[in-house]
């Protein structure tokens, strides 16, 4: 039977965002992936035409489809159009991913990237593995930044005084601006930009300076990472930028420096740190002195928790000890401090002369940095562990000066490039008021945010994946920024914008090329874009000497002072949030939902305090308190953080946005209100408001309860008992001979590969990049705060963080208290933290499989525990029976919930009266069971962000880590297609054909190794062959394919806080007895 309906009318193309790809937008391929976005399969019966039609209706949200099945075609599929190119483009194959090298600019550098794109649609961000020294690792922000590209709330329009204007009109305004100020040589023209490492922008800046001599240029960063360079420049008397080589250092001392977490370029630090810290002899040792409990502290061998404001004194004491070997006097350091700790630490540094790296945190004042350089110099590490490269020139004044300037001068036009000063400039500055002083404010911004609200002209900015540009990485290498897609909303890149103001019409690509015209000719240019960097463009300076005198240091030291903290004189530490950065990712759902690496908090920031502080102030978790600091006030919830320094408050910046968007608005509290520009301040006071706030935390229980999930040893014991991990069972595994042979053993013989994974807990620092990478690769939905609170987060991969402590300090009664009571137990004062990435273990004897009634989860012959979403009916039995609880259940249609309602409880929105796009949900559902509660403008963009290789799951379906089966299949299919009529079908590590999982690829530490365990030469086989290899809960005889390399710590026996075994082992021993004398141990 035929359907003769409207089969020749060519379809109307709906709202199009694919400017560059108009024709592509009509290709069958394009539509095909549109359909593939939300596969009907997971939602409806396979052959049921009815549901397919409904499904297609959704998919055609942005494309009016010509054919809709009618009664005529009964239970058939509806008519779908395949619309090929008019003119077939050259060397373009639909369906094959394309990869482009680009880079993500950061404050003091850039992250070289390779971006995967389907049909002109960027899908996944990877690190550029070709980049010198890189392992292809990235950081959280880079992984999540792709979601911003498809953020429905990004600025879509050019606006003048709040009214939308057409693009041309806006651009004309820029031309007039240009003419006007060319006339008066820039009188009253001021620019405010964020710092950048782009040579092209620097060139434009200079051009502007020459074209508008009287114009002013100011730079500011809410989070100031420039201090490393400024300090080095002062210390060494010339503009230099320090590059820290943690891999070369034997002993590392962090002076309140969270180089693994909050510092710029953390992913590089992690890479190098991990490289220098492979379990075994010669692994480096890390001392951390800090007030907050940071990732760095969590990975330290020795951690000293002190107020951030007293770090300067301690640094000085250590410097003294290192130079003259004198033990520091009581006078110089805070009273309650263990002097032995300092002196022994200093000795250790001195012993390792030349291989030492002392680094000061960016939140610490200049003096600490200078002291750090002094110690490095004293132990002649400059040029070895600390390389110095030419610093970028001083690029414009700071925003503080702009404030003065705005006061003093008549600023006619203020051009704000990016940033968001209204939100994130110091509260005392009251920028909102200052900004009004300028007659006209022109803003180039990615969002219509707080600043945009107060600007006269708003220009939508282009995402870095939409723009041409360049940047220099922190080690000085030149990298290109090339677009993968035309700006979805016609936004302008910073360069476009500035060139326009310069009155030049040439596009930013030419702008970039002309910058490097000197050395980048046609071929080089191609190579430049292909590789994504210019090899050898980083050069470090030789024999630079410290010029700052010790007397000068002492002077500064005195200025720093020695504050004495108490409940009435608290210290506030402002830090860069691990998720929203300075607030720029506040509207990024992945980031909001990513558990904080340490607190495991989502969708919130809090006032971090130590147990003692909380007790003295009489506050508990969730209590809303008002913090007063030099006249400013802010209200936030308390969170007791184990291992915090007493009388020190940790405040994450970047939350409490008022105009962030559907996701970010109103999440957390805005710490900028009491921020004055100094990241460490004393003199704060707190009082309870009496109200409380609910905090959604993904891991409520802190202690490991002596269970051997994470197994640790110190280097000494590890060398004595290399296979200690194997001995540490939860219980003696029963010695049983199976009644029946395992059919999988038969299947193994014929299978081409056997997939497995090994995770090195010594390397893993717990940064959480893998979690975001996994979310991005596997279309994992965002569930929202309320759902996280209910324990329904969907992350296939999570990072378990346990606090361990001296069992003697632990009160057995605490074990029976609620998780809420943990904050009051004393053992949390001094804790060690351990991290464990937890994902599907792909057990060979998977408990989940045998209980599934419908064969929805079974094993494939290559050892994958596969999950067929479209077969799953959602009994949830598999998850109950999974000892690792790594299976995630779609309790609701998370893919169809509107972003704006993620924060609130579902019941408000899902109630039957709820409307979407002015229509009752229940009606929408009746017409189309696949309709969600998402408005079209959300659909249009969110569809684009999905990875076409992975089915999007509907409500009522179980899902879990698949070892990125789509990548495995892609590799296998590629190899087989290549093999054709031959038997060369096996993927080999030697041939480099083994696929990488998303988490493995993203991990900056290279802690995750994935591959073919049936190939003895593969890295994963070698890793699993190491003595410290163990399987979590292997005593349940699940035969996990994912195993862990036990963590090895390297403490210094001379230190006062030295213990023979890590706390986790002590806790284990207390519960299960010493694993190494088998007589005593019960045989369960």
């Amino acid at each position: 039977m035929k359907n003769n309906l409207n089969n020749s009318t060519s379809p109307v193309t709906g709202r199009r965002y694919w400017r560059s790809l108009d024709e592509l937008a009509d290709t069958p391929e394009f539509k095909d992936w549109l359909h593939r976005e939300f596969p009907v399969g997971a939602s409806e019966l396979v052959e049921d035409g009815q549901s397919r039609r409904n499904f297609l209706k959704i998919m055609s949200a942005s494309f009016a489809f010509a054919g809709i099945a009618t009664l005529g075609s009964g239970c058939r599929r509806p008519e779908e159009k395949l619309e090929p190119f008019g003119q077939q483009p050259e060397n373009y194959t639909f369906g094959e991913a394309q990869y482009f090298a680009t880079a993500m600019p950061t404050r003091t550098g850039a992250i070289p990237l390779v971006v995967k794109s389907y049909e002109g649609r960027p899908i996944k961000i990877e690190g550029n593995a070709l980049f010198p020294g890189s392992n292809g690792g990235t950081d959280r922000y880079a992984q999540a930044s792709i979601l911003d590209l498809y953020d429905p709330d990004r600025a879509r329009h050019f606006k003048h005084d709040g009214k939308v204007v057409v693009r041309e009109e806006a651009l004309n305004f820029l031309d007039e601006l240009s003419k006007k100020f060319a006339a008066n040589s820039g009188e009253g023209l001021a620019f405010l930009s964020e710092s950048s490492t782009s040579p092209s922008r620097w060139r434009v800046q200079q051009n502007i300076a020459s074209k508008f001599p009287k114009s002013q240029w100011f730079t500011y960063d809410a989070i100031d990472s420039g201090i490393h360079q400024r300090a080095a420049t002062q210390a060494f008397g010339q503009p230099v930028h320090p590059v820290f080589h943690f891999d070369k250092a034997k002993v590392i001392l962090s002076l309140d420096c969270d180089f693994l977490g909050g510092e710029d370029g953390a992913h590089e630090h992690i890479r190098k740190f991990a490289a220098g810290r492979k379990a075994g002899q010669g692994m480096s040792r890390l001392y951390a002195i800090e007030s907050l409990f940071t990732l760095t502290g969590a990975n330290a061998d020795h951690r000293l928790r002190v107020a951030a404001s007293s770090v300067a004194q301690i640094a000085a004491a250590i410097l003294g000890a290192v130079i003259s070997g004198q033990t520091p006097g009581v006078t110089t350091v805070p009273a309650d401090l263990d002097l032995k700790w300092i002196s022994e630490c200093a000795n250790d540094l001195a012993k390792n002369r030349g291989n030492v790296l002392v680094i000061a945190g960016q939140r610490q004042p200049l003096v600490v940095h200078l002291l750090a350089h002094a110690i490095n110099t004293a132990l002649d590490c400059i040029g070895n562990t600390v390389a110095l490269i030419p610093g970028t020139d001083n690029r414009g004044g700071a925003s503080g000066q702009l404030a003065k300037y705005l006061d003093g001068h008549a600023v006619d036009t203020l051009v704000i490039l990016g940033g968001n000063p209204v939100q994130n400039s110091p509260g005392q500055m009251n920028w909102a008021a200052l900004q009004k002083k300028a007659k006209t404010v022109v803003r180039l911004g990615y969002y219509e945010d707080e600043t945009a609200e107060l600007a006269n002209w708003n220009f939508p900015a282009a995402h870095y994946l939409e723009s041409w540009g360049d940047a220099t990485t922190s080690d000085g290498t030149l990298v290109p920024v090339q677009p993968l897609i035309q700006p979805l909303f016609g936004g302008l890149s910073e360069l476009d914008f500035l060139w326009r103001i310069l009155g030049q019409s040439l596009g930013s690509i030419l702008a970039v090329r002309s910058t490097h015209g000197s050395f980048v000719d046609g071929e080089q240019w191609k190579k430049f874009l292909f590789n994504g960097f210019v090899a050898g463009s980083s050069k470090s300076l030789e024999n630079v000497k410290m010029v700052k005198s010790t007397s000068a240091l002492n002077q500064l030291l005195v200025e720093a002072g020695k504050p004495v903290l108490s409940a009435s004189n608290l210290e506030v530490v402002f830090f860069r949030d691990a998720k929203v950065d300075d607030g720029r990712y506040a509207n990024n759902g992945w980031m909001q939902e990513l558990p904080d690496p340490i607190t495991k908090m989502t969708w919130d920031n809090a006032v971090l305090v130590s147990r003692k502080t909380a007790r003295d102030l009489g506050v508990a978790n969730g209590d809303l308190v008002e913090i007063s600091l030099n006249g400013q006030k802010v209200i936030g919830p308390i969170w007791t953080q184990p291992g915090m320094a007493d009388y020190s408050l940790g405040l994450a910046l970047g939350y409490g946005r008022e105009r962030a968007g559907r996701v970010g608005t109103g999440v957390g509290f805005n710490a900028y209100k009491i921020f004055s520009g100094k990241y460490i301040e004393t003199g704060a006071t707190i009082h309870k408001t009496g109200e409380t706030h609910v905090i959604a935390c993904t891991q409520d229980h802190w202690s490991m309860e002596g269970r051997p999930a994470v197994r640790e040893a110190n280097l000494a014991e590890f060398t004595k008992l290399p296979n200690f991990a194997e001995e540490m069972h939860g219980k003696e595994p029963p010695i049983v001979k199976s009644l029946y042979p395992n059919p999988f053993d038969e299947a193994k013989k014929t299978a081409l590969h056997q997939w497995g994974m090994a995770i090195d807990l010594t390397s893993c620092v717990g940064c959480g990049t893998c979690v975001v990478a996994c979310q991005s690769e596997n279309n994992i939905p965002i569930v929202g705060k309320d759902q996280v609170k209910r324990g329904r987060e969907m992350h296939w991969m999570r990072i378990d963080r346990y606090y361990t402590a001296d069992p003697k300090k632990e009160n057995p009664a605490d074990k029976f208290k609620t998780d809420e009571d943990q904050q009051f137990s004393e053992w949390i004062d001094d804790v060690q933290a351990v991290n464990q990435p937890m994902l599907c273990q792909h057990c060979e004897m998977a408990p989940c499989e045998s209980v599934c009634p419908v064969n929805a989860t079974v094993h494939d012959q290559e050892g994958l525990n596969v999950m067929a979403y479209n077969r799953c009916i959602g009994t949830r039995y598999c998850s109950n029976n999974c000892p690792y609880k790594v299976r995630r259940f779609n309790y609701l249609d998370f893919n169809k919930r509107p972003l704006s309602e993620l924060k609130g409880p579902i019941y408000s929105s899902a109630m039957l009266g709820h409307k979407t796009d002015g229509e009752l949900d229940i009606l929408r559902w009746w017409k189309d069971p696949n309709s969600g509660m998402r408005s079209e403008d959300e659909w249009d963009l969110i569809k684009l962000s999905k990875n076409p290789d992975v089915t999007v799951r509907m409500r009522g379906v179980m899902e879990k880590c698949t070892y990125c089966t789509q990548r495995i299949e892609h590799a296998k299919i590629g190899q087989k297609a290549k093999a054709g009529g031959s038997d060369n079908v096996r993927l080999l590590e030697a041939a480099g054909t083994i696929p990488k999982t998303a988490c493995q690829q993203a991990c900056p530490a290279g802690a995750i190794v994935f591959g073919d365990v049936s190939d003895p030469e593969s890295a994963v086989s070698k890793a699993k062959a190491q003595p410290q290899n163990y399987g979590v809960l292997a005593d349940l005889l699940t035969k996990p394919r994912t195993t862990y390399l036990a963590r090895v710590r390297n403490p210094n026996p001379l230190m006062p806080d030295y213990r023979e075994w890590p706390h986790s082992f002590e806790e284990y021993e207390q519960l299960n007895g010493n694993p190494f004398d088998h007589e005593k141990k019960g045989n369960g």
């Binding site: 039977m1 035929k2 359907n3 003769n4 089969n7 020749s8 060519s10 009509d26 290709t27 069958p28 391929e29 596969p39 009907v40 399969g41 997971a42 396979v46 052959e47 499904f55 054919g67 239970c75 058939r76 599929r77 008519e79 779908e80 159009k81 395949l82 619309e83 090929p84 190119f85 008019g86 003119q87 077939q88 483009p89 194959t93 639909f94 369906g95 094959e96 014929t750 081409l752 079974v858 494939d860 596969v866 999950m867 067929a868 979403y869 479209n870 089915t951 698949t962 089966t965 789509q966 495995i968 299949e969 299919i973 087989k976 093999a979 054709g980 009529g981 031959s982 038997d983 079908v985």
Partner: protein
Amino acid sequence: MIFPKWTNSLPLALGVIAALTGAAVAAGVTIYLTPKYTRAGYQPVQPVPFSHKIHAGQLGLDCRYCHNGVEKSWFANLPGASTCMNCHNQVLKDDPRLQIVRDSATNNTPIPWVQVHKVPDYVYFNHSVHIRRGMSCVECHGRIDQMEEVSHAKSLSMSFCLDCHRDPAAKIRPTDKVTELGWQWSTNDEEAAKLQEVNGKKFVHDWKVETLQSCSACHR
């Protein structure tokens, strides 16, 4: 006398009727609600009366001339109008039936072909690997080269896929014969069958062809 005598035969009758209806329903479902019926035979009217019979059959164009992406991608792409014009700028250059094609080529406006073959969206079928490993187009699409207008020949249901995945030897053929839809080992069917069996086994063994039946083969 509420119940006359005939009512005694009522239960039996009802039982029989129930049984028959049940059987009928079962049969109806299997016949009319399974892909065998809902998919196979689907033949929409195309905007351009393109005849595979003429092009692939009589003229003997290779499938890959138009569907040139099929060996590289999971998707067997449709040719752009420009591809058609390669010949049709000489052949039938003024034929009114080709107006749409000419317009498409000149104005670069797409031709709205109606899609015939489509597996559900959570099924990740890959053309390239099947084609390049000796699985002929004909196995799933039927004798396209004999169709005036393309129609859906096979059911393309999961069990349809499984048949082949369980026993590839029955279908596999030399890689250079993949696009010769009519090809078989011998003109004599009987002999062809025998040869297929022998060589099929041989290929499966020599090329290490896997019989993938677990979810991961098709579902991601």
